[in-house]
Amino acid sequence: MRRIAPLFGLLAICLLIVLLQFAIGAGIVDEYTVPRPTAIAAALPRLLAEEGILTRFLTTVAETFAAGAAATLVGTGLGAALYRWPLMRRSFEPWVAVLAAAPLVLAYPLFLVLFGRSSSTVVVIAFASALPPVVLQTVAGFSAVRPVLLAVGRSFGLGRAAEFRRVLLPAALPSVFTGLRLALMFGLINVVGVEFLINLGGLGALINDLSERYDLPGTWAAIGFVVLVSVSLFTVLDGGERWLQRRR
């Protein structure tokens, strides 16, 4: 049954695509809003050959990883600091929560002024959006560690550093990983979004280009490609998480 479930999901999506194809054919859905799935699929080779979608894909992935990695490093560090110093936590955690809910991407003109129309702007905005969830998840994860586990650590004579490395971190790892997942998700959304807005770099800029040229099948194919990227990104992350779980 467990094996069948993902297959079933895939089948449902395929069915939806087939339905869409027929709905467009029957004139229920306007072809100039949503092109036929067959036309979208036919646009893919063109994107590969003429639009350099692979290089753009690599740009997007590199920017997402840069932003995600920076958010992970800084975020877990900040999260650990907020956990370690309760006063700091009481002062700053509400603000981090506000930041997590704010659509930072709307401030892109400010970042443009600061960092220019460059990859840095894309990465910095994605980093800033990905940081708050990592911080919040890390603090929550550390705080949820059962006190008796810390008492066990202390009874075996662990100092602060060893306690962190051997008890706190492994105990909080699942929660920290939820933060990383969110970091990559927000990172990718913001990278593609800012690329689109400033028309620079990877897949977001390509979607912008194609839509300005009214290349609807191309635009939709590129969007489909972004979805594929995000799916594969999370598959990789899942594998990494399982690997770390076994090793902690």
Partner: protein
Amino acid sequence: MLSVANVTMRFGTPADGVTAVDDVSFDIRPGEFVSIIGPSGCGKSTLFNIVAGLQPATSGQVSVEGAAVRGPHPAVGTVFQEESCFPWRSVIDNVAFPLELAGMPRGERHDQARHFIELVGLRGFERRLPSELSGGMRQRVCIARTLAAKPRLLLMDEPFAALDEQTRLLLGDKVLQIQQTLRQTTLLITHSITEAVQLSDRVLVMTYRPGRLKRFVTIDLPRPRTAEVVTSPEFGAAVASLWADLREEASRGMAEAGG
């Protein structure tokens, strides 16, 4: 081995606070098995934390092998009331944890861990995660992990309190076996009278608010304490005498808690 002298612990302000432990003094000789028994809320866990070096007392001294306790002592092993396995470590890596801290190579520490896993009767479960075990098995993992550090004094705070009656009895037998194999100096905190009588050389009865030691009872039953001993009149007499002491304290505790 262990010496507790005039230990007092107060919580809260001097004007408005609780004296959880009041002027408690006792000693434990090497190889001795001592139980502290008392109604719930009488300060047993507080005393345990102080002896384990996890919490400083308001006043008084605790010393282990002649050295004053100022923090967790390497010669003292602790088993907590709450089940405390590391959920991300397999049974064998939980038990090997103190050996890993000591820098012992993997093969050697696993060999030693296997010995203690067998001692608590969990052979065959080495690779399981705690989430795959029952509560009683997890508590046995914790006991094995503490024993693996080879403490010269073992402290246990109601290690069976959260378990059902049958598991308790089985685990009590296990501890008895371990005691007979290792001759481990042990301080067991419990609220089960039969457990205390069956396992101990001496039982200390604690009072409810303030938490004082009321009586020291020497259990003069032969070892090993087989089923025969447990059903003997002497065993029954010891249980009855402790029960009389404890009933007084427990009813006082209930009356106060009730208002």
